[in-house]
Amino acid sequence: MIVDVNAHWGPYAFRHLPDHDGPGLMRLMDRWGVDHALLCSNPSLLYRDAHQGDVEMSRAITPHPRRFSGVATINPAYPGWNRDLETALDDWNFRAVRLVPQFHGYALTDPCADALAAECARRDVPILFMQQVEDRRQMHPWDRAENLAIEPVLAFARRHERVRICLCNWLGLGGRELTDAGLDGRVLIDLARFDVVLFRSLPQLIDEIGLGAIAFGSQAPFNYIPPALIRLECLDLSEEDQERVAWKNAAEFFSLERTILHYNSQKEKA
């Protein structure tokens, strides 16, 4: 069983993305043994009204609740975000909120970001941050979204000590800085870009912050999935610990247990 916490739905403006729709994603997941994916909407990065990108994604994934869970991309600087959040969480059963200040043009220190964090804390909904969508060295001339720096995210985490945070597609995270920001026990980090066999940045991170903070993530369909599978396999974990990274940590963090157990039983019957 594998749950991918770093997966994406929909076309991307600056590059052809193969397999970005629901059927394409399911083909990919079936090919590489991924059972369930948390999806963020690509159109939500660039639409003026980010929520419309989530509307499109919800229509595409609602028929497949056993395979997909949605992550709402909320722009707290845009009018009506509270209602968008309610719709995503209550009507569509989305499991988390993604903030992309680097695309939506606000700072995590802005009062609107604090207001959204307070609402997420009240509802116990995790907030997801991505360091980047694409490497800046290959950026399209109109793609001006800089990589998100970790410092404002850590400051945000310090100010909102009840908010759980998921960090996807990051490089260079140190366990100590996360712990110092009070993220022990309330952070989940995907392994998509961490090194295992040569520089061993992922084993080191696990030593520092614990296995419970690590989850499988591939950044599909931007990225090929097998590099993440290889990282998982090369961690050389016990079967029980490998299951935690492969899906149990994510299931617990995003409250996916019921969804996944149901899917699993269906699969066994099949």
Binding site: I2, R137, R193, V197, F199, P227, L229, I230, E233
Partner: protein, 269 residues
């Protein structure tokens, strides 16, 4: 298939990494050891690695520093003769110096030339190096990229992109040029389109980026004979991309090892 979708025997497939490094004596990195390189390759089933130790950031270093870098490669070749092949790092310009260094490297068992970003490869200062590579039948691996961000462009003003490789390749159709790391961060789709009509430029697939579709596009644009499996130290990414690509078994074998073995077989003297 294993439960996660990877072939059970993915490690056992023969792999030759066309672009790898061993630690530099000039800038030791904590935790980066030669034995660690071998151990990592063993974990991923990489049999042979073509290694170099370049001087980076465009620095025009004295020949003594170049020799120290190449000494690290020569020492690695002596320690692991079955696991490593060596590229001799050269800084073009002072012809007496680089010719002497190349002779020393080849005598010591190296098999190719490595260039970094001290000069663009379209610069005539490269011409005698290309002529010497032809004479020996050895490949030139070049650091490459078409960076789109201002920071990288400023930091690497003389980085060569595919148009520079093509300029040198057209002047010397007998030379084998390897354009490094198609997934090393630059605009890879631009690079592929530039390279289509330069048949003596081959590409290596290394780099930390794992953009889905890259490998298939490389093969579709250039043909499977012009694409080499490589990691440039992004080891899981390098192996995973080639495993993932939608290719025929025969084409994938060419990438894993067939093409680099063919290039090695071009050696004349």
């Amino acid at each position: 298939m294993s439960t996660n979708g990877l072939l059970r025997d993915w490690r056992a497939v023969r792999k030759v990494d066309a672009h790898m490094h061993v630690p530099s004596p000039l800038s030791p990195a904590p935790g980066f050891e030669r034995t660690g390189v071998i151990a990592a390759a063993d974990r991923l089933g990489i049999e042979v690695m073509w290694i170099s130790v370049p001087i980076t950031a465009g620095r025009m270093a004295p020949i003594e520093e170049v020799r120290r870098c190449n000494d690290a490669v020569l020492d690695a070749l002596r320690q692991y003769p079955d696991r490593f092949r060596g590229y001799c790092f050269l800084i073009p310009g002072n012809e007496d110096e680089w010719r002497g260094e190349l002779a020393r490297c080849l005598d010591g068992g190296m098999s190719g030339i490595k260039l970094y970003n001290q000069y663009k490869y379209s610069d005539p200062v490269l011409f005698p190096i290309a002529e010497t590579a032809i004479e020996h039948g050895i490949p030139i691996l070049g650091h490459a990229g078409h960076p789109m961000d201002p920071g990288t462009r400023e930091a690497q003003p003389y980085i060569s992109d595919a148009s520079d490789f093509c300029a040198l390749a057209r002047k010397y159709p007998e030379v084998t040029l390897i354009e490094g790391h198609i997934n090393g961060g630059g605009e890879w789709e631009w690079s592929l389109k530039q390279l289509r009509d330069c048949p003596n430029v081959v590409l290596d697939t290394s780099g930390s980026n794992m953009d889905a579709g890259t490998i298939e596009r490389c093969v579709a644009e250039l043909g499977a004979d012009r694409v080499l499996f490589a990691t440039d130290m992004s080891m899981e990414a390098g192996v995973g991309k080639v495993l993932a690509a939608d290719l025929s078994d025969a084409d994938r074998e060419k990438l894993w090892h067939g093409n680099m073995t063919r290039i090695e077989g071009l050696r004349k003297v």
